[in-house]
């Protein structure tokens, strides 16, 4: 196709957004003949599903005067047959998009009549929100005659690629995540080995020397045989001086090989242990920086296995197996050189089975690698069962499901066994085959050697030397073949570690961070959207929270309250729109600096293993004892802490056993108080405790809230009596905003809920909202 650059006459004036980037070549030739003079392409969207939801390629195009739909017929020939539908802009045209289970649907309405609909799945760079906006802008501009307003663009915080307001994910950065890690994973370990390069070099030189030393003894057998033993058999007396010299040489070389071997192993083991430790630390550090999204998709057992046992396996591989292997390779090369220098013909015969064995190793390597990867996965399956069951042991016991859990574990174990069995089948065949080849090789050398001796081409001494060399040589080949399995194990371990290391946090650190000196705590959320998988959880949400204001978030579970809070904490990044603190986008603030301004109190407080004082000071490890006590007092935790046997030094476990829910909650409140944050987030902080405790916690919270920007999620409205404004959410959107009195006056969802709770009826917010919508329906019908 030669029509490459015919359209982009106007492309320079367009902002470089995905939907207005150059049309793919395939479409350009199709689209071009259908465009009228002075008609400009403003945006396009590839539609990859037809009405029957079959995968085909269609195109929707927005120009400055109409919406055009190109639908090629079945044959994808060079001159495709295209049917074209056009919708010239007119008032009352509206484009609506919704999605379900990964399938997006665009519908074109005129008044309430649907005149067209298209389905597509999300491909890498389609931004339909942007497409709809373009449609609206072009449509309005076409009808009114006013030009389309120019949009402000904001560059990607990471790579400075210009982004528009709707486009949140940078197409440049996000495509990087899709590239799979290289298969030469083990070589990537060099990054960790680099700091130790001099030690490694020293180790390598020692290895060379020690290997050379081990090759001296067989060489000494030649004169021993030819100059001493055979002449003796022919009646020449033994030359004791020569024998002494030769035996001394044997002993000396053995001693030399011993000392060199010892120092090389020691140095290299030392280095590899350090590489392993670095690998573990760096992986763990990287893991901690990943967003909550990553942890949501991974199971604890699997991650623990990766950082713990996999890195250890790599370490053993480096210090033991790789070292042996390198020594073996050196030995083979040196031996081959010596053999060729003694007698090229016999050397050729001796080395003949070598390529054969190498080929066999290669064949088996592939089979074993996939097998070992499989074993790894199965192994983490086994540990996942453990990680699931042990924390949930109370549920298991309460429902008397020990037998079921045991069989689940047994099943995983069986799977493990089956995979191992399959691998062992190949593996067990492998070693004996190598041994067999070794024997055959020896046989070959014997036969050829005897033939050569009979022709007087070589001496008996040379044959014995050869036999001595190759018996070493072949045993090394045998052990070298073992490297295959360990290398594969280490490589798959390395791959799984690099899987973590290669994972780019979906909450990236800004490249040009902005620092806020004093934070007043004003939060602005502008047309924020967030998708979790294929579900839109937050849709086009706008909210401004003034410094020091307390906002109560109300809504049934699944309405997006917790997600909104997670977005404010930047546990996730918004997929559309922006959130800013004091007028600065939170994406351009350094993450940890930003989060230091946030105090978070969760429904299920998490206490780490350690003393109560350490737990309170978790966010500020250098806090003084006086500060800790002040925080505990303010959190109404001081008194009960003093009642514990060791006071502030009492140890609490990971789930804080020994403390009641309310007590744990007050410790977590003290923890939030201690860092003195400007923004406070209370996520159902009192939901899991009884009314009496709630009052206690409420008092603590009142101290905490004072003077801070607070966002509180609560099911019980009584906990929100201090809120300046209440925000009622439903299905990811804000339904009502106002203070208590206003919302009561407007008699909406909040009014009903309050009435119900005031009457002390156990009413769910869900019912209130549904009643309201039914009431609205009735009113509108």
């Amino acid at each position: 196709m030669n029509v490459v650059n015919s359209v982009p006459v106007n492309s320079k004036i367009l902002p470089p957004t995905p939907s207005s980037r150059l049309l793919p070549n395939f479409w350009q030739s199709i689209v071009q003949p259908h465009l009228e003079n002075a008609e400009e392409i403003k945006a396009w969207l590839e539609i990859n599903l037809d009405e029957q939801l079959h995968f085909t390629e269609h195109l929707l195009l927005i120009t400055n005067r109409r919406l055009v739909y190109f639908c090629p017929s079945k044959t994808h020939a060079d001159i495709p047959n295209v049917s074209v539908h056009e919708y010239v802009y007119r008032p009352d045209l509206k484009l609506v998009q919704h999605d379900h289970a990964g399938v997006y649907k665009l519908e074109l309405f005129e008044h309430h009549l649907r005149i067209a609909s298209w389905c597509y799945t999300l491909t890498s760079d389609t931004s339909s929100a942007r497409f709809i906006k373009q449609f609206e802008q072009q449509c309005t501009s076409f009808i009114s005659g006013n030009p389309v307003p120019v949009e402000a663009t904001e560059p990607c915080p990471k790579c400075r690629y210009p982004l528009t307001a709707e486009q949140d994910e940078c197409p440049q950065c996000s495509s990087e995540i899709d590239t799979p890690p290289s298969t030469w994973t083990l070589f990537r370990l060099w990054r960790f080995a680099k700091p130790y390069q001099w030690q490694l070099l020293a180790g390598f030189l020692l290895m060379l020397a020690s290997t050379a030393a081990t090759l001296v003894p067989p060489y000494l057998t030649i004169p021993l045989m030819d100059k001493v033993l055979i002449p003796y058999q022919n009646g020449v007396p033994i030359d004791t001086e020569l024998v002494g010299l030769l035996l001394g040489g044997l002993l000396g070389s053995a001693l030399l090989a011993w000392s060199l071997g010892w120092s090389k192993t020691y140095i290299l083991a030392l280095v590899s242990e350090r590489i392993g430790a670095d690998l573990r630390t760096i992986t763990y550090d990287h893991l901690l920086k990943l967003s909550l999204e990553y942890f949501g998709g991974k199971r604890t057992g699997d991650l623990m296995a990766r950082i713990g046992s996999e890195s250890d396996r790599i370490c053993v591989f480096l210090s033991l197996h790789l070292l042996d292997f390198a020594t073996d390779v050196l030995m083979i090369i040196m031996t081959a050189a010596i053999l060729v220098s003694i007698n090229p013909e016999l050397a050729l015969v001796t080395l003949l089975p070598l390529p054969f064995i190498a080929w066999m190793i290669h064949i088996v390597r592939d089979k074993l690698r996939t097998g070992f990867e499989k074993i790894d996965r199965v192994w983490s399956e086994v540990s996942n069962v453990l990680a699931d069951t042990i924390p949930g042991i109370r549920v298991v016991k309460a429902f008397a499901q020990e037998a079921r859990e045991s069989s689940r574990f047994g099943e995983a174990n069986q799977h493990n066994l089956a995979v191992n069995d399959r691998i062992n089948k190949i593996w067990s065949l492998f070693s004996p085959s190598v041994t067999l080849l070794t024997e055959i090789g020896l046989l070959l050398v014997w036969a050829f050697g005897i033939w050569q001796i009979s022709k007087d081409e070589i001496s008996v001494g040379i044959l014995t030397a050869f036999l001595a060399y190759i018996s070493r040589f072949y045993t090394r080949l045998d052990s070298m073949s073992r490297i295959v399995s360990v290398t594969q194990k280490a490589a798959s371990g390395a791959k799984r570690i690099f899987d973590i290391l290669d994972h780019v946090s979906s909450v990236p650190e800004p490249s040009n961070p902005v620092h806020l000196d004093t934070v007043s705590g004003k939060i602005e959320i502008r047309s924020a959207g967030f998708r979790y998988g294929n579900r839109a959880v937050i849709k086009d949400l706008n909210l401004t929270i003034e410094p020091g204001e307390m906002i109560g978030l109300v809504g049934h579970s699944g309405s997006g309250k917790s997600t909104l809070v997670n977005l404010m904490c930047r546990f996730y990044d918004v997929s559309a729109g922006s959130i800013s603190l004091d007028g600065v986008n939170i994406r351009s603030l350094p993450i940890s600096e930003y989060r230091l301004n946030i105090g978070l109190v969760l429904q299920e407080p998490f206490l780490f293993f350690g003393s109560i004082a350490e737990n309170i000071a978790y966010g500020k490890p250098d806090a003084t004892r006086a500060e800790i006590i002040a925080a505990a007092r303010a959190a109404h935790a001081h008194e009960f802490i003093l009642r514990l046997p060791h006071g502030y030094d009492s140890l609490v476990g990971e789930r804080g056993h020994g403390l009641s829910g309310g007590e744990r909650q007050r410790i977590s409140i003290a923890r939030a108080l201690l860092i003195d944050p400007r923004i406070l987030i209370l996520d159902e902080a009192t939901a899991s405790v009884d009314t009496e405790t709630e009052k206690e916690i409420q008092k603590a919270l009142d101290n905490l809230v004072h003077g801070r920007t607070t966002i509180a999620i609560a099911h019980r409205l009584s906990t929100l009596h201090k809120a300046n404004r209440l925000v009622v959410m439903d299905q990811g959107q804000i339904v009502e905003i106002g203070n208590h009195d206003e919302l009561m006056a407007s008699e909406g969802a909040y009014y009903r809920l309050y009435q119900a709770q005031a009457r002390n009826v156990d009413t769910d917010l869900d019912d209130v909202i549904s009643n309201e919508t039914i009431a609205n329906k009735e009113a509108s019908a």
């Binding site: 995968f55 289970a101 999300l122 799979p180 919508t773 329906k777 019908a781």
Partner: protein, 160 residues
């Protein structure tokens, strides 16, 4: 719509906006209702719920079998649109055995590509069925692993 089945005291129709319109026994009309299968994978024909656009259940259909034919057709057409789960018939090629990996697949809906983000996006279900969720949340199904051709099975096996 005349109802033969006494259990069905509602009517379902398509409105001008192309949405499903539900009218209950009291004559109250709900626009833009959704049809949802309760067990879309393990028992697709067993339970079906009609959900209002606010997400509340309006009617429960325990089985599609004894439905009036007209209603059944409407429901099935709507479900076909909603439930997009291409069945993988063959895996032509995978870009790498390490994730993320881009797969070239043949499905009952035609040829396409899917991006597998991680191995744990492949779920082994009962009866050799496999559910694969791609990067964009589209679900792909393999109905019977055993019946897949050898080439595809070999490729898939590297991820299981």
């Amino acid at each position: 719509m005349a109802t033969i089945n006494p259990n069905i005291d509602f009517t379902l129709a398509r409105n001008v906006a192309g949405q499903l319109q539900f009218t209950d026994s009291d004559g109250i009309v709900f626009d833009n209702v959704n049809l949802v299968r309760a067990f879309p994978i393990s028992a697709p024909d067993e339970g079906l719920s009609i959900i209002s656009k606010e997400g509340h259940e309006l009617a429960w259909i325990s089985s599609l079998v004894d439905m009036p034919i007209q209603l059944k057709e409407l429901i099935e057409a709507e479900l076909a649109q909603r439930e997009f789960m291409p069945e993988i018939l063959r895996i032509n090629q995978v870009s790498s055995f390490a994730t993320p990996s881009i797969w070239d697949v043949v499905t009952d809906k035609g040829n396409t590509q899917l991006t597998l983000k991680a191995e744990d996006q492949i779920w082994r279900l009962k009866n050799n069925r496999i559910l694969i969720t791609d990067k964009n949340g589209v679900n792909f199904m393999i109905n019977n692993l055993e019946q897949l051709d050898k080439h595809s099975r070999k490729l898939l096996d590297r991820f299981l």
